[in-house]
Structures are given as C-alpha cells and as structure tokens.
Amino acid sequence: MLEKLLSEERIKIGMEARTKEEALKELVELLNLSDESKQIILDALKKREVIGSTGIGRGIAIPHTRSTIVNEVYLIIGVSRDGVDFQSIDNQPVHLFFLLVAPPNDPGTMYLIVLGKIAQIAKRIAKENIDYLSIKDKKELIQLILSLEA
C-alpha cells in the first residue's frame, strides 16, 4: 500500500528547519501544488498540531490532515539530522517526519489505513533503534520503509 504513495520527489533528506512551523513548511513545499493550495494545507496541519502534537516521541512525528484542497492522498517524508523542536510527547527533537495529507472522502478510507500503518512503522523504527539517519539515498529510505511495512 505504501509503495504507491512513496516517491523520491516527496522525500527530503537533510531538512534545514529548526522549528515546527519551518518543518511543516519545508515538507509541504515538496508538493507539486499552487502556493495557495500549499498555504491551505499548511494552515490545516498547524491547526491539527495545536490540538495535540503529532510528535509521537523517540524522534518521530506524523503530521497529518484531511483537506478539501487535495484530490488524492500524499505522503511526504523528511529526515533532519540536527532535529526539530516539535513539542513531541517526550520533548525530544524530531528527526524523522511522515507527513500525510488526504482529501475529505478517499476510497476505502485509505488515509486512516495508511495513518495506522505509518504509526506502526514509526513504533518499529523506534523500538528496533533503526539507524535511518545514516541513510543518504532516497531509494534506500524507501526500501527501508517498505521492508518495515510487511
């Protein structure tokens, strides 16, 4: 399922952001959409963060939102070597981001299924101490994520 959503164009290794807002903006920039559409998505993501951080701890965050402005599910992955202050539940900086955006109604509620899968993968990465920070190649990162999906 994730294979269809993973694309090298929507992966950033070596994020420059230092704050939550900068990180969300840097990731949303990877979407091939108009500036107005990206701003709407950014606003929706920020509103979601206000009601509870999606930084799940152990250096991982899963910012996500549904938005009318998209007509398909998008998954964006970001890696920050220095880490981002994301007000995570454990107050530790975030190094790995899985950002998910979905339309209001998606067939087969793919969004919720993908969100659940990503949460499982994130927990596995944290539990098994998988070294994703040493990965420099986007293809390699995709392979790692797909191997964890199984």
Binding site: K47, V50, I51, G52, S67, P104, L112, L115, G116
Partner: protein
C-alpha cells in the same frame, strides 16, 4: 484576507478535523493524544469564522453538508470534483465576495 469560498473551504476542513479527532478508529489506530482545551479554542475559531460568512451561504453550506457530507469541492480541469460534471464555459473563478455553485449538483466550487 480570505475569499468567501476560501473561508467556506477552511470551515469544511475544520469540521473534517473535528470529526476525525472524535473518531474511535482514528484514536485507536494511531494513539495520538488530543488536548481538549485546545479543541475548545478550535471550536471558538470555527464560530468566529462562521460569523464572517453571510447567513444565506452558511445555510446553503449546512444543507450541502447534510446532503453530500461536504459542501465545497475543487474545480479540476473545468470539472466539479463532487459530481464530475464539466462546468459550462461561462463559469469563471468568482471574486472574493462571490460564490459559484456547480450547475449540476449545486455544491460550492473552489478554484485552486
């Protein structure tokens, strides 16, 4: 300053979010924590946003939400993304204070 259709789209996105965070499946599958005090702030923002929308459009929005579970749909390739009907050639992107409806399904159109 957001356009009227932009405000309606934002209202729909907020309602989607509020529906999501009360969905049992969402909370169980992801394990995210929700700060209820912040949810109250979001509800207050939503109320404020509603006051910025003329009542006749808000009523239309509510009626469409009841019918389609959404009231605003994007226009892609001159097509309504709710009913997939081609829009008549005369339909153009509205000005900031105007709203354009799909001539087939009646949904509020947003031109991205």
């Amino acid at each position: 300053m957001k356009s009227l259709s932009g405000k309606l789209l934002e209202l729909q996105d907020i309602e989607l979010k509020l529906a999501e965070i009360t969905n049992k499946d969402y909370l169980e599958k992801t394990g995210f924590n929700i700060d209820n005090e912040k949810v109250v702030e979001l509800l207050e923002y939503k109320k404020k946003l509603e006051t910025e929308i003329p009542p006749q459009y808000l009523r239309r929005y509510r009626a469409l939400m009841s019918k389609y579970k959404r009231a605003v749909a994007l226009v892609y390739d001159n097509t309504c993304s709710n009913c997939f009907s081609k829009l008549p050639t005369g339909i153009k992107e509205p000005s900031d204070n105007e709203i354009v409806f799909c001539n087939v399904c009646g949904i509020i159109l947003y031109f991205p």
